[in-house]
């Protein structure tokens, strides 16, 4: 297992090293320009206002990228591991399907969690960089409000840390479930690819049907509107249902990898 983990982590590290460094660099630049422009701005507009808009848009983009791109990378990587000739080596590895899958998922989860963490930090730093400013009369109360918020935060520090961690982990877990969903169907495709002529459209169809069914079952069982953030940071039974479905999917993928998948 150690060998697999080394291999998967090295893979993901090598792949994302430079893009992560770039992202961090860009974030720093935007944060600096945001705080400068906001502090020195007066109402008359002009270049500084433009700069501050630009910075905030930039920070919002960084936030979105940090949040979403690890998931997309995970989905892409798994697809490549089943379809690229450079991944044929992985098929030769004498380790069972579940172990290989687990190593991949541990690396995916670490990457996704880091992304979520980064997104949260960017959000936090953005808010921090604009604290204590008075742009117009509407926000003149803001300094006082901010102080209230800061006092509240200080008082409930421990609970806050716990709740924040919980939220961050469950967001990461939710993103991982999305990856699992895609990976299940990629794996199914490589089981069917040499057996049925229309394997690709069939898999698409199966994926669509499954996602609708899951959504419908979820609504039925838990009377929710199918909104993602509710499903993720939500009640005990619903989380349990989600977890059970994921566990079954994970087992199924492992089984297919072990006994049924074929390469191109």
């Amino acid at each position: 297992m150690k060998a697999l983990l080394t291999y998967e982590f090295r893979k993901i590290f090598k792949q994302n090293k430079w893009s992560t460094i770039t992202l961090l660099g860009v974030t720093a630049i935007f944060l600096i320009s945001a705080s400068i422009s906001v502090r020195n701005m007066d109402l008359s507009g002009g270049p500084l206002q433009l700069l501050s808009m630009f910075s905030f848009v930039g920070l919002a983009s960084v936030f979105a990228i940090a949040l979403i791109s690890p998931t997309i990378t995970a989905i892409q990587n798994y697809f490549r591991d089943l379809n690229s000739q450079h991944a044929v080596f992985e098929t030769y590895i004498p380790q069972n399907g579940w172990k290989r899958l687990a190593a991949k998922y541990i690396s995916y989860f670490s990457h996704i969690q880091l992304g979520v963490l980064l997104a949260a930090i960017v959000l936090g730093l953005t808010l921090f960089s604009i604290r204590g400013i008075a742009i117009d009369q509407f926000t003149q109360e803001m300094p006082y409000r901010m102080q209230e918020v800061v006092d509240y935060l200080n008082a409930h520090r421990a609970e806050l840390i716990w709740k924040t961690t919980q939220a961050l982990v469950s967001i990461a877990y939710g993103l991982l479930s999305i990856t699992l969903f895609f990976n299940f169907f990629f794996t199914l495709h490589s089981v069917l690819r040499h057996k049925i002529k229309s394997a690709t459209p069939l898999t698409f169809l199966a994926a669509a049907v499954t996602s609708l069914s899951l959504g419908w079952i979820d609504d039925l069982l838990f009377n929710n509107t199918a909104r993602m953030h509710e499903n993720m940071a939500s009640s005990g039974p619903e989380m349990l249902f989600n977890f059970m479905v994921s566990a079954i999917a994970f087992y199924a993928i492992g089984y297919m990898l072990e006994h049924k998948t074929e390469l191109k």
């Binding site: 080394t6 893979k11 000739q85 030769y92 004498p94 399907g97 040499h194 074929e262 390469l263």
Partner: protein
Amino acid sequence: MIKINNLSKSYCNKPALINASMSLAPGKIIGLLGPNGSGKTTLLRILTGELRADSGNITIDGEPLSTNTKARISGLTNTDFMPQGMTIDQAAATYELFFPDFDRSQFHSLLADMDLAESLQISSLSKGMKSQFALALAISRRARLIVLDEPLDGVDPVAREEILDLIAKGFREESTILVTSHLIHEMERLLDEVYFIREGEVQAMGDVETIRESKNISLDELYREVYRK
């Protein structure tokens, strides 16, 4: 002994391999010779685990093919099978990570013989050098079965000689080397036993020297003789 019994495989109902049977003994270099599209690659990819047979079975020293037996099989079905973006050195290290039977020192000496520096990026190598590197990797494992699919494919005549040399150097008493090729003439000198394959059907032809002795023809000619309609 590696036994392949009545192996069949179809791609979307088009048969690629039909009741193929082979017996592979250790300490032999065995050829599976036939034209492109005859099913050689399919058979080899089932051995390496890239494909699954529809029916039939394979046993390695009595044990059926499984994830565990992968440790005893060294495959080379395509030159670019290692991940991208690595140097030869890094690729060998990754390989070694999963295959304890990898003989790093043999790999070193094979590379030295070919004048290939280990610090080179694999992507910068020519097709011939890449083939040599991949072959050196696969053949430096003390595996029970070494499976080489068309190792001479797409390689210039000079590099081909070096590859034949490499295969000869990789010979071990405990291993079976199974090689496929459509370049029958060039492979002949390396082979102990030969099987012919055409349109998915495998035929055992036996010991190569005996064939030359009794029939006084080359394998090339024998193939044409056997399959002339």
